[in-house]
């Protein structure tokens, strides 16, 4: 092949003049994303002006944060027994709220799962109610309960139950719905009734899911239980709030650290457990 021919070949593979560009995706395919981004930007700007923020003042006070944290880190053992007993109270509250929620949530979930509910309409109605319960914040539920039951731990548990049941009712229903219809059909064909099918196939098939969800919910409920103390439902939250209000920052700091340590332990335990569950 001569040099000239080679040159001509090279010329062919160079970009020729083709006029119009060829699109690799239809025009406007990403339009929803652009609209979303633009809307978000507008909302940010509007929010900024609505709130009349004073960032200058915030920045000015940042050094205060340092001194508050420093003071909190000067742990004080003042009324330490009270801190521990209220922490135990919060943990016990969490355990009971999750336990009651688990039992009730399982029943709610069974009736809220389309594949095993006695009729599908009931499942839809239940899921609607659960969505409503979840839409109202836990603190609001707790305040409502406090208003009728008075302050205290039992009101705290009752307040926590709303979201715990609503959570379990939704995720358990989803877990139950993942059990293949064919499996249910097999037991139906053997003459099993609804309850027998639930305990024979649905529950064993979804057991790992239920345990994993319960572990996650335990973490969330513990956080909520701590916050509930601050609205008057007792527990370590109340201790932290009372200490901060009376400027005993060292005492509050120790309580916060204890809460953090317990939350971390839950996290570590559930992570290990989930790893083990996968083998099952």
């Amino acid at each position: 092949m001569s040099t000239l021919e080679l040159e001509q070949q090279g010329a062919l593979s160079a970009e020729p003049e083709l006029g119009e560009r060829i699109a690799v995706k239809p025009k406007g395919a990403d339009m929803p994303i652009y609209i979303f981004l633009a809307a978000s930007a507008i909302l940010c700007v509007v929010s900024f002006f609505v709130l009349d923020l004073n960032w200058g003042k915030v920045i000015e006070r940042i050094p205060n944060l340092g001194s508050v944290v420093a003071e909190m880190l000067h742990f004080s053992l003042d009324k330490f027994d009270l801190t521990i007993s209220t922490l135990m109270e919060t943990i016990a509250t969490t355990i009971l709220a999750v336990f009651y929620g688990l039992i009730i949530g399982m029943v709610v979930g069974a009736f809220g799962a389309k594949n095993i509910a006695p009729w599908k309409g009931l499942a839809t109605v239940i899921q609607c109610v659960l969505t409503f319960v979840r839409a109202v914040p836990t603190t609001v539920w707790a305040l409502l309960i406090l208003a009728c039951m008075g302050f205290g731990i039992s009101a705290g548990i009752a307040g926590l139950l709303f979201h715990t049941i609503a959570f379990f009712g939704k995720v358990f229903a989803q877990t139950f719905e993942e059990v293949p219809e064919e499996t249910l059909e097999a037991l139906r064909a053997a003459g099993a009734n609804r309850i027998q099918i639930f305990f024979g196939a649905v529950l064993p098939a979804s057991l790992t899911g239920l345990i994993a969800w319960s572990a996650l919910r335990f973490e969330i409920t513990f956080g909520e239980a701590t916050i509930l103390g601050m609205v008057g439902a007792g527990g370590v939250g109340y201790t932290i709030m009372a200490a901060v209000n009376s400027y005993q920052l060292g005492r509050a700091g120790l309580a916060v650290v204890l809460v953090f340590i317990f939350a971390y332990i839950i996290e570590a335990v559930t992570t290990t457990m989930k790893g083990k569950l996968k083998v099952l």
Binding site: E185, A186, G191, A201, A205
Partner: protein, 262 residues
Amino acid sequence: MENILELKNVSKTYSGNDAPSLQNVEFSVKEGEIIGVIGPSGAGKSTLLRCINRLVEPSEGQIYLENKEITKMNHKQMKYARRRVGMIFQHYNLVGRLTVMQNVMHGRLGYMSTADAIFGNYSEVDKRHALELLEMTGLKEFRYHKANDLSGGQKQRVGIVRALMQEPCILLCDEPIASLDPASARVVMELIRDLCREKQIACIVNLHQVDVAMEYTDRIIGMNSGKVVYNGGSKELSGEDLERIYGKPMGELIVGGERANA
């Protein structure tokens, strides 16, 4: 021999679908008789099986099981009637997380109180029976394995044992070998045939493999568009019959066996 099952003028139309899935189906099954049901996909084979134990409600007609009209039964009576009808599925339909033994014991649920079922209180007699059946099907050593850990052929054998635990008078098998390799398929078909012969259980098997149907069954029911277009001895099935069942000339069918060379 006595008729164990009798279908009279059974039709089924699913709501939202004009074309009936079953149209005036009539046949009867004698005690211990093995029947193959063949026909193209959508011919109504699965619907037919599920109408027999009323997992699907027939729109018209009467079905008699052991001389009792099950189409007249209420919910509770039907549950009792279903215990005498074992069912085997293409996808085995076991609970994967449970052991072979637990899955097999599910065949007894219909005979148990709800409380016993919740706590898994199976009777010792039933468990002994289960072990015997597992031994017969070569699964005894797998009794504590999880169903998920078994091969397809083994799973289907668990399905067969579960169905037999019901002490059925008839087995309904919905494409029992459609997901199995040829060797497992043979094992499963032989088990179904031999166990049914031994225990005098009637059997209706939906099949896609014409040669398997001809080899393992006494009688073949051919279906097309919801209608029974052939009902006769499995050895007498002719090429014309097959063309009528599948609605295609023989040249366009793979029927396997000796006929393939004919």
